[in-house]
């Protein structure tokens, strides 16, 4: 597609459940990033994929968070045993050149109740 696509756009889940968030980057973009944005806060880096290299997972807040990128394209961010503090907007971005201007998706708003 023309832009970065994320699904679902909104997700409400019960505390303790697992959730999967999906990101379709721009075709041909080798770099893919996940960020988290809490209410009134800036963006918090979570994880970075670049081609076939091992991902940079340094931003994942706990071992309940994991992500994968299949075939160098679609990425899935999984949060296990969700907690209320996981409530945030999860943003995915991709870029043609690493660390150059990203294109962001519209995000998935996750609410844990």
């Amino acid at each position: 597609g023309a832009g970065v696509s994320q699904s679902p756009s909104n997700k409400v889940t019960e505390k303790g459940k697992d959730v999967e968030l999906r990101c379709d980057p721009i075709s041909g973009h080798t770099a893919l990033y996940w960020y988290r944005q809490s209410l009134g806060q800036g963006l918090e880096f979570l994880i970075y994929f670049q081609g076939n290299s091992a991902p940079d997972k340094s931003g994942l807040p706990s071992d309940r968070f994991s992500a994968e990128r299949t075939g160098g394209s679609v990425s899935t961010l999984t949060i296990q045993r969700t907690q209320q503090e996981d409530s945030a907007v999860y943003l995915c971005a991709s870029s043609l050149v690493p660390n150059y201007g990203y294109t962001f998706g519209s995000g998935t708003r996750l609410t844990v109740v």
Binding site: V4, G42, F45, N99, G101, F104, G105, S106
Partner: protein, 113 residues
């Protein structure tokens, strides 16, 4: 101005006036900076970027100024329009040594018609 961890600053301007949004970045090793605009319910949108070998860069109605001595970045918007109302983030990157951008908490700009 803005800095990571502070409450979201706000700026209100009259339509047609010029706006100046400030940002204090944190790392003297950062060599690439981007301003993003985020409208409600959308992901951040790239506005303009600047590398550390420059002091000023102009786009359409926007100018970014970089002062490395005091680690300060500003975004100037000329003839501000209602469509410019959004939250504006600065982001810094350490180029080849960094896999992520560090974002400030943002400044909320409201344009009064």
């Amino acid at each position: 101005g803005e800095s990571v961890g502070l409450h979201l600053p706000t700026l209100s301007v009259q339509e047609g006036d010029n706006s100046i949004i400030n940002c204090a970045y944190s790392n003297s090793a950062s060599d690439y900076f981007i301003w993003y605009k985020q409208e409600s319910g959308k992901g951040p949108q790239f506005i303009i970027d600047i590398r550390s070998n420059m002091d000023k860069r102009q786009g359409q109605r926007v100018t970014v100024l970089l002062n490395k001595t005091v680690k300060h970045l500003s975004l100037q918007i000329a003839a501000t329009q209602p469509g410019d109302s959004a939250v504006y983030f600065c982001a810094e990157n350490m180029g080849n040594t960094g896999n992520q951008f560090y974002f400030g908490t943002g400044t909320s700009l409201t344009v009064i018609p």
